[in-house]
């Protein structure tokens, strides 16, 4: 044994971060935490530091970083703050794998720098590929960085493609659970609450992702992510509704064969695969028991119920800065919804208005993409009265 692989965990206090620590803890001979980064969860990251003994802790929020620094005084652990602190965690020299599990566009810079440094990136953070997939993948090609997806859908596609020639792929089909409101009558959708949106039927995830899975905006992001991660054309990417979240995606080949990846809806399965790849490590979690499940259901997506998938496809087709704007608009809209300021059904309209108000640019630099992101947020903030005032 060459010793445990060093892990930098960015977003350690979020849902994916906690589950990644669960996996790491199960294999102390294989993995060790060398750096932890979070946004502002002081108590959680201090406790994690005492448990996992990283050498470096990054806290994006400056005030929170100050508190963490104070709490860890005398431990010898270095605490760094701001987004540049998070970036530094990903660049820790002993980090063989960078788990990118920050929520939202905030993760882009750290992923970009880790990719530039040629690190293996276990990517849970969708936004870097959504906003800047063309740049990130080109940079990975140059640096030799390997990007192993953590999203269950992309992990499924990644695993189904291993050993198969990509030129023989006809289509990639992402599965969508349909989220919390798949069975709510359309006319009642405008009255659903944030609490209801956060009750996902099959997956345990963070709040932003859970709302995105109710609007299926998530699936739109995943289509864009798949486009860059695997290099398939938008026409090759499809979505099918699958209530049970057991089949995580499917790859269809030109000869009529399909390979599908199945697993219990437990993020620790794809997280562990991304950490151990190309090996597989045994774990206590059982595989799905099909005989006990009885049936797996599939259905078409309703464009009326889930307009966000169409919006994502439109942004992908527009290219350049459009996906960054799409993503920024959703982050704003979801935060307004979670804050009780808009209705659930306002989310797609807000995204559409941001896309309509945006002059698509080339998006050929990270700075340019971040500027597009910021301008979309400003546009919506200026316009917020229009959306939030109509809400009861």
């Amino acid at each position: 044994m060459a010793g445990a692989a060093g892990i930098a965990l960015l977003g350690s206090t979020g849902s994916i971060g906690l589950q990644a620590l669960d996996v790491i803890e199960a294999f102390p001979d294989r993995f060790r935490v060398v750096a932890l980064a979070c946004h502002a969860s002081v108590e959680a990251v201090v406790a994690q530091t005492r448990q996992y003994h990283p050498e470096l802790v990054g806290v994006a929020d400056a005030a929170a970083a100050e508190q963490v620094s104070r709490a860890l005084r005398g431990t010898g652990v270095e605490v760094v703050s701001g987004s540049e602190g998070v970036v530094r965690c990903g660049l820790h020299p002993a980090a063989e794998v960078v788990v990118a599990a920050v929520t939202g566009i905030a993760g882009l810079e750290a992923v970009w720098e880790a990719v530039k440094a040629g690190k293996r990136v276990a990517l849970a953070n969708k936004e870097p590929l959504v906003a800047a997939g063309h740049l990130v993948m080109a940079e990975a090609g140059r640096s030799g960085a390997q990007i192993v997806p953590v999203d269950s859908e992309h992990s499924a596609i990644f695993q189904s493609l291993l050993g198969h020639d990509r030129s023989a792929v006809a289509r990639v089909i992402l599965t969508a659970s349909g989220g919390a409101f798949r069975d709510v009558p359309l006319e009642e959708l405008e009255r659903v609450t944030p609490e209801q949106a956060l009750a996902h039927p099959t997956w345990k995830m963070g709040p932003k992702v859970t709302v995105d899975s109710a609007t299926l905006f998530n699936k739109g992001l995943e289509l864009i992510e798949a486009r860059w991660l695997f290099g398939f054309s938008p026409e090759q990417l499809d979505v099918v509704l699958h209530r049970e979240s057991i089949v995580h995606s499917l790859v269809e080949f030109v000869d009529g064969s399909v390979l599908a990846h199945l697993a219990e809806p437990d993020m620790r399965v794809p997280i562990q695969f991304a950490l151990s790849y190309p090996e597989r490590l045994p774990r206590a979690n059982p595989a799905p028991d099909l005989a006990r499940l009885g049936a797996l259901h599939f259905g078409p997506l309703s464009a009326e119920r889930w307009p966000c998938v169409r919006l994502a496809r439109e942004a992908l087709a527009a290219g350049g800065t459009a996906p960054a704007v799409l993503n920024a608009a959703d982050e704003v809209a979801v935060s307004w919804f979670l804050g009780g300021r808009i209705r659930f059904t306002d989310i797609p309209g807000i995204i559409e208005s941001a896309l309509a108000g945006h002059q698509v640019g080339a998006g050929d630099s990270i700075d340019g993409l971040l500027a597009a992101d910021a301008s979309a947020r400003e546009f919506l903030e200026r316009d917020q009265e229009k959306w939030t005032s109509s809400h009861a």
Copy 2:
């Protein structure tokens, strides 16, 4: 293009043979028939010869061979007879792929010789691996022969394993449609007719295989075949009921991941894969449309309804000559059932009696296995009054 690959098609007039010709015909630049062999279907093989222009035609039945020879006089096609004629077809020097689609143990000799000669064998004929899997696989290891399965289940496993480390496999799960009588009340099973048995709900196959899929004896054979083809232990092999015949088998890995192969229930899909492997060729047949299918159902096997699976497991555990006897007894029992001489529900009892009456030998030579096969048939023929007289 290096020219079309030469194909020797053994069992050309059976169900798999006809579907193989369908595939070959679709890709005239890729495949050409160099030899055809059948049992005794004179008209069919003569017509095939005129259409596909093989250099060599084998006919196992001597009288039929004589008729074929007469019909093809002047064409320059060589006609050979007897089982040695079939073997010669498989050994045709221009045959790069031998499609072994003979029904029953009759195919063993030709497969054995093709494997010894180091040919690529596209194996549809289950019995060679069932009766002599340990010998055939050891010989393939020595000669470098590549065995690519044509059975949909084994093709599914083969495809799901590509690119994955076999030591990471926890379990292989074969799917079973349940055949023609899966929904017939148990107490009515003894009255079902051969005609009813031949009406398979999802697959189009030959009569022996269709009856075997109603008793699930087929699944027992496939467990044994999988044991040898992939080297997994009997404990790693499982069966799940799956009515739609869309998921053709599943491979479960130690990390809780499962890869499944899906395709329409059309034997041309695995036949084409076995011919074109490692490439995939495009075909008109579409992949399954999950959204349209709506649901895939799974369930446990009933040991009471399908005792043949247990019998196959027992023969596999006994080893040596036991699987050859299991197989011979089923061939006899199915022919009796198709001839209206026994009831459907007598089949497992007949197989069990043959196994009970057999002294298991080492089975370390093809001749020894063929002798065990013959002695099981004699045993049952001697005993046939016991089974056939009670039948109304």
